[in-house]
């Protein structure tokens, strides 16, 4: 797991929520992000099953037993599982974007291949059963197995000349820089500098250069400011579009059908029920259902009692949920001890930035 400057030592409260989040995330990334892409490679003849088998038998595994430590307590094992899953998710991001750059395949192809528009193509998701302990053990094993798939796939593509090993290693480092802490920086600057906010809203990505954040290139950036009169919340009901190249991957629930279906049908009620976010009747709620062309982020309301706080401190009040509009920015007293509910903050990965 990459260390980053905002990491804190908060404790988990709700293991069930963390484990459920890990189950949903592993299955989402396996069945929606990487295996459909492997099918594309097979379908178009870039690799064959035999290449993967040959590569696998010729190269012993590197990633095998991370998080295996039986000596750890349940929290330690769940943390190790989440760290391994983080690596898995990041590596999928790296491989899919590298493959996308090397062969003529676009995200839209994957949406078709993985069944976003037609359930026929959907891969079955595994259901985890048993005690919490058993599920953690099984998940840990499955994450290791699936990381091994990525390792073999990358090696096979390098051998085929489709990917370049040096480029992969360089990009792997670069990819670690995108994350919700970018969102924290952006929001904090908006709170203290109205001119920057205006520029960001009108120009989008190019305005980020003055914060030292690479603007990325996944569509246009839409910026929605929450005020006392209007509360914005974002969703992508067709897939799970989000400015992930800038803000890191979405929380697990953002990609779930239950969130997508319910948030558009009764936004205010669902915010209260799922995220314990109760909004006054006087506030207009707008749910933004986005395409891949404009990817939205929300600027949450600035919490009360934060006058005079430094920009770096303000950035820590911005949660992943608040960047989506499913939560508020937290109060200074809540830093490091955010409440974990069944939905919001259930999986604070990247961990408690």
């Amino acid at each position: 797991m990459a260390e980053h400057p905002h990491q804190t030592d908060s404790h988990m409260h709700d293991f069930e929520a963390h484990v459920r989040a890990a189950e949903e995330d592993l299955e989402y990334y396996r069945a929606k992000r990487i295996e459909p892409r492997i099918f594309t490679l097979l379908r178009r003849g870039f690799i064959e099953f035999a290449d993967l088998f040959n590569t696998a038998s010729a190269s012993p595994g590197k990633t095998g037993d991370s998080g295996n430590g039986q000596e750890k307590d349940i929290e330690g094992r769940v943390r190790a599982l989440e760290d391994a899953l983080d690596d898995y998710v990041r590596e999928i991001g790296l491989l899919t974007s590298s493959i996308g750059g090397a062969i003529d395949v676009v995200t839209e192809d994957s949406r078709v291949e993985r069944g976003d528009y037609n359930e026929f193509f959907r891969l079955t998701h595994r259901v985890y059963k048993g005690t919490l302990d058993e599920r953690v053990r099984q998940l840990t094993e499955d994450v290791a197995k699936n990381r091994r798939v990525l390792e073999v796939l990358a090696r096979a593509l390098i051998q085929k000349g489709i990917l370049n090993e040096n480029d992969l290693n360089e990009d792997r480092e670069a990819i670690k820089k995108a994350g919700p802490w970018n969102g924290g920086k952006i929001v904090a600057r908006c709170w203290i500098d109205p001119d920057f906010k205006k520029k960001l809203v009108s120009e989008g990505r190019p305005a980020l250069r003055e914060l030292g954040i690479p603007p990325g290139r996944v569509g246009k950036l839409g910026v929605l400011e929450n005020t006392d009169k209007v509360h914005n919340v974002i969703v992508c009901t067709l897939c799970s579009c989000y400015p992930y190249d800038l803000l890191g991957d979405t929380p697990w629930w953002y990609k779930q059908d239950i969130y997508k279906k319910r948030i558009v049908a009764d936004p205010r009620a669902i915010l209260a029920e799922m995220f314990e976010l109760k909004l006054p009747p006087s506030m207009e709620v707008r749910v933004y259902d986005s395409t891949s062309d404009v990817r939205y982020m929300v600027i949450p309301r600035r919490p009360k009692g934060t006058d005079g706080m430094k920009e770096e401190q303000l950035a820590k009040l911005v949660t992943v949920d608040s960047l989506i509009g499913a939560g508020e920015a937290i109060r200074p007293s809540e830093v490091g001890k955010q409440k974990e509910t069944q939905w919001g903050h259930a999986k604070p990965r990247p961990r408690d930035y």
Binding site: E108, V218, K220, T237, L238, V285, D293
Partner: protein
Amino acid sequence: MGPRETEAARLLAQLFFVGGKITTETQSSLSQYQSLRVLCASAVNKAAADKRVEDMETKHGSFKVGDPVAVKQENPHGNPRTPKYIRGKAGVVVEVHGVISNLNDHRGLYPPLYTVAFNVKEVFGGASPDKIRMDLHEDWLEPVR
């Protein structure tokens, strides 16, 4: 640079600076240079897209902020980016985005994009006072009189 790279660079330069045509021959000669494959693919895509952005921006852009619009039930052009639940519903344009070039995401370009505001209760029934704002491409929209 070896002779292969030189040839690839020549083709790229032709595309970018001389305004050469993107033919299938150019594409296939570029794509045989495996070490430059990424560059070639994105160069070809970009040059083609720039041209299409120009063409489309002159052709489209029928709606403006405040226009009442309805979402079509079907889209003959195959652009899939419109959820089923909003088809046939009426809303109002609240933002005009224009043609957005997004070549990592989909091939070519979709028509101009608009943010359209809908009332939740008109889409799903019930009594919700809330709003849905959805980004929709022009080929999915028709004017309401």
